[in-house]
């Protein structure tokens, strides 16, 4: 069994709990906060009321699980599922040191689904991840000389923006905390413990101050990015977001936006079986769900995951449960959520541009036949087609058949 960075996160939480307990003990009081943390997935994946670290979506599906949670021994009713528990969650943490090992791009967004359901329950949550980390990898493709090639890995700004929006929407904070700044988490947990000991004005203010400092750091981090976000999506090639989505009636949707992704159905574990490694290598359902949730949160609109390499047969395969178990969970969370949906090439009205539609069809077939990564030239062609689709939708040359 090879452990990932989760193990480090889980012991960092223990370390914080140990420090806070010691501080309080020196003040002559007992730490009222307990720490729920397991060293393996089985515990994480249990529902909160059963002793685990998982909460449900509005549709009663299991959402992503946390890595640990501070709680108090107090009767609590889940505002969404209405289930009762003897333990009230105070702060749920989802953590990763993945920025040190290559999780420097879109993949970070998988973390969002682990805390997404918490603010509506009025539970504080945080993604614990290095704000800036050094990521060592092979520099061969960059024509660098061995033995080292290192780049900076940072928090993804769009994810920070989505967390801020989520906090504002529910008036309950979802935070990003720098995993290299243990003291920030320590002060937060200490302030939460103090408030549990005595809920007076001083302690309330102290807690507010800690949360405010964390939220300010997040806001500062995305300041310029947030100002440019909507303009950039409309003027630049990337991100592949379509914020003005023309629908069947020719009008721009007032309720839906879309994010184009070039993944094929292997992303959710549907493979031909020809290539045994395909299932694990192409597992991207988690990332796609994170992307859809992120755009929904930032724009405040319902979000289509627009997958032009898929057709309705691919979608049916997932409805028929042909993905792997983890991907099926993410797929269910996507399609059961009334604010999210999947569109395939069959949902796009390409007008007279049959060439673009046929190109998507051709590339889809190659990906499925190969059961592997696309060859370089098809991969480049796919990028080009996705851009044509984005700008075709913005110019209303194409429409969504809804």
């Amino acid at each position: 069994m090879a452990f990932g960075s989760d193990f480090r996160v889980k012991y960092l939480m223990r370390d914080v709990q140990r420090i806070v307990t010691k501080r309080l003990s020196e003040e002559g009081v007992e730490n009222p906060l307990r720490l729920r943390v397991f060293d393996e997935d089985a515990g994480d994946n249990m529902l909160w009321d059963k002793g685990g670290l998982t909460f449900t979506t509005d549709e009663d599906n299991d959402a992503g699980s946390g890595d640990g949670a501070w709680y108090v021994e107090e009767n609590w009713i889940d505002l969404i599922s209405k289930k009762k528990s003897k333990f009230k969650p105070i702060l749920v943490i989802e953590g990763t040191f993945g920025t040190e090992t290559g999780n420097v791009g879109d993949a970070q967004k998988t973390k969002l689904s682990h805390i997404f359901e918490l603010p509506q329950r009025k539970i504080l949550s945080a993604i614990l991840m290095p704000k800036l980390a050094e990521y060592y990898s092979s520099g061969k493709n960059q024509n660098k000389l061995p033995p080292t090639f290192v780049v900076n890995g940072r928090w993804m700004k769009s994810m920070v923006m989505a967390s801020i929006s989520l906090s504002q929407k529910w008036n309950c904070e979802t935070m990003l905390i720098d995993a290299y700044n243990k003291q920030q988490l320590e002060e937060l947990v200490y302030s939460l413990a103090k408030q549990q000991i005595q809920n007076n004005e001083t302690n309330q203010e102290y807690k507010k101050k800690q949360i405010h400092e964390i939220m300010c750091e997040m806001s500062l981090f995305v300041d310029q990015y947030a100002k440019d976000f909507f303009e950039k999506s409309r003027r630049s090639n990337y991100p592949l977001s379509v914020l003005d989505l023309p629908m069947k009636d020719g009008k721009i949707s007032s309720t839906w936006v879309a994010k184009i992704h070039s993944d094929d159905v292997k992303a959710f574990g549907v493979t031909t079986g020809k290539n045994p490694k395909a299932k694990s290598r192409h597992r991207n359902g988690h990332r796609l769900l994170g992307n859809a949730q992120e755009l929904m949160q930032i724009t405040g609109k319902n979000t289509f995951l627009l997958l032009p390499r898929w057709d309705k047969i691919d979608l049916k395969k997932l409805h028929d449960n042909q993905g792997d178990s983890k991907s099926q969970k993410e797929f269910t969370n996507l399609v059961d959520n009334p604010s999210l949906d999947i569109l395939t090439m069959d949902d796009i009205d390409f007008g007279n541009d049959t060439e673009l539609r046929d190109e998507f069809k051709r590339i889809r077939k190659i990906g499925i036949d190969l059961d592997a990564k696309l060859p370089g030239k098809d991969s480049d062609k796919l990028k080009e087609c996705c851009l044509k689709l984005k700008w075709g939708l913005y110019s209303k040359k194409f429409k969504i058949n809804r």
Binding site: Y11, T21, K50, E134, P147, T148, V150
Partner: protein
């Protein structure tokens, strides 16, 4: 055909499938490695180990020390690389762990890490005296942190010192026992003269092996220079600043060799082993436990009906000689980092991190790799005086 009375095992026609539970795990540790069976403060059977063995147990099995209210494990905390140069176009993939990291503004700096040098200061009793491993069998799903807290409290109530204890939480089924099996394999291969590890730096997208063992001429050198007592887990090289080592080397001619094991309790590891076979780095590939049934293409480490290890190395795997040669070079560099892990950060930085323009971690890696093994040995010997 075997039909043996075994209270913890199920009998199949041609094999015994041991259930790894508290009792069988204790027996395995006692019978194979001579760890003493003792009573824990609550009257239950436990295992007593030296501080050195307890460090290995925590490092590989993951069992936390109870020195403080919430446990501390050594597992996953002392990494140096997560990718090896031999499998990644000559590039090493460094990660904080043994050496720490801190961010000041927009710059990352080296910091005190989780090396035994610093752990000894944080947990003064960790590396001293005998330790008792308590085995706690889970009845329901419990927060591990809270179980640790409860035990810490109960041990104190019994007027005992919690810092003398480690707590191993055991599930009733075979599941989640891979770490224990990795520890067993590690101890077994250490006895055979191999350096071992369970946090194997490997190739990108090739599947990280659960366990690796290395036969290397460096082992004798490390013993002669008193950095290690005998063949051991790699991270133990960094404990020379704490443990005194009086072992004797074998003085045998040894060729570099890599062994890879995959620990499984509820499935087989054929898929992973086939991937390793394709790569051609390891001359021995084996499953650990893996429902006790041997596959023709690979070896198996299993237990007989009396819990004694029975290792069948399986067929010798064909290797890529160029790859192995490159890997030997990587391994030599890798060991250098565990050697300098014996020193405080100031001494390390003073020697290897001198430029204010270049990244500190990159300076450390490049300069250590550019310094000869003997020079590193001399530098660390001097630094430890």
């Amino acid at each position: 055909m075997l039909f043996v009375h075994n209270p913890y095992g199920q009998h199949y026609e041609d094999q015994i499938v041991i259930t790894l539970n508290k009792d069988s795990m204790i027996e395995i540790l006692h019978k194979n490695f001579g760890f003493k069976k003792v009573k824990d403060p609550f009257g239950n059977t436990a295992i007593q180990m030296s501080a050195r063995d307890a460090f290995r147990f925590s490092l590989i099995e993951g069992t936390p020390y109870l020195a403080q209210e919430y446990g501390y494990t050594c597992k996953e905390q002392m990494r140096v690389f997560y990718g090896r140069s031999s499998l990644n176009d000559g590039f090493v993939y460094y990660t904080p762990g043994l050496f720490g990291v801190k961010r000041i503004g927009d710059t990352i700096h080296l910091d005190e890490g989780n090396s035994p040098y610093y752990l000894d200061k944080k947990f003064p009793s960790m590396f001293h005296g005998n330790k008792t491993v308590i085995f706690h069998e889970e009845t329901t799903l419990e927060s591990k942190a809270e179980v640790e807290r409860d035990f810490h409290k109960k041990i104190k109530e019994k007027k005992e010192d919690p810092s003398e204890y480690l707590l191993s939480t055991v599930s009733k089924s075979n599941s989640r026992k891979e770490n224990f099996l990795e520890f067993v394999a590690s101890q077994y291969f250490n006895k055979q003269g191999y350096l071992t590890e369970s946090q194997v730096p490997y190739a990108n997208n090739q599947g990280v092996p659960d366990f690796a063992a290395y036969k290397t001429p460096l082992t004798d050198l490390l013993i002669d220079k008193k950095f290690i007592e005998s063949a051991c887990p790699l991270s133990e090289i960094s404990t020379a600043c704490i443990f005194s080592n009086k072992g004797k080397s074998f003085k045998e001619k040894i060729n570099y060799e890599v062994v890879i094991g995959e620990a499984k309790t509820n499935a087989d590891a054929t898929k992973q082993l086939c991937t390793h076979k394709e790569l051609g780095l390891a001359s021995c590939l084996f499953e650990i436990f893996a429902r006790q049934k041997k596959k023709n293409d690979f070896g198996l480490l299993k237990f007989d009906d009396d819990y004694v290890i029975n290792f069948d190395a399986g067929p010798i795997q064909s290797i890529n000689k160029t790859l192995l040669k490159n890997d030997e070079k990587f391994f030599e560099n890798y060991v250098k980092f565990y050697l300098i892990g014996n020193l405080p950060l100031e001494k390390i930085k003073e020697k290897f991190v001198t430029s204010k323009k270049e990244r500190e971690s990159e300076q450390l890696i490049k300069r250590v790799m550019n310094t000869s093994f003997n020079d590193i040995v001399n530098f660390v010997e001097q630094g430890m005086k």
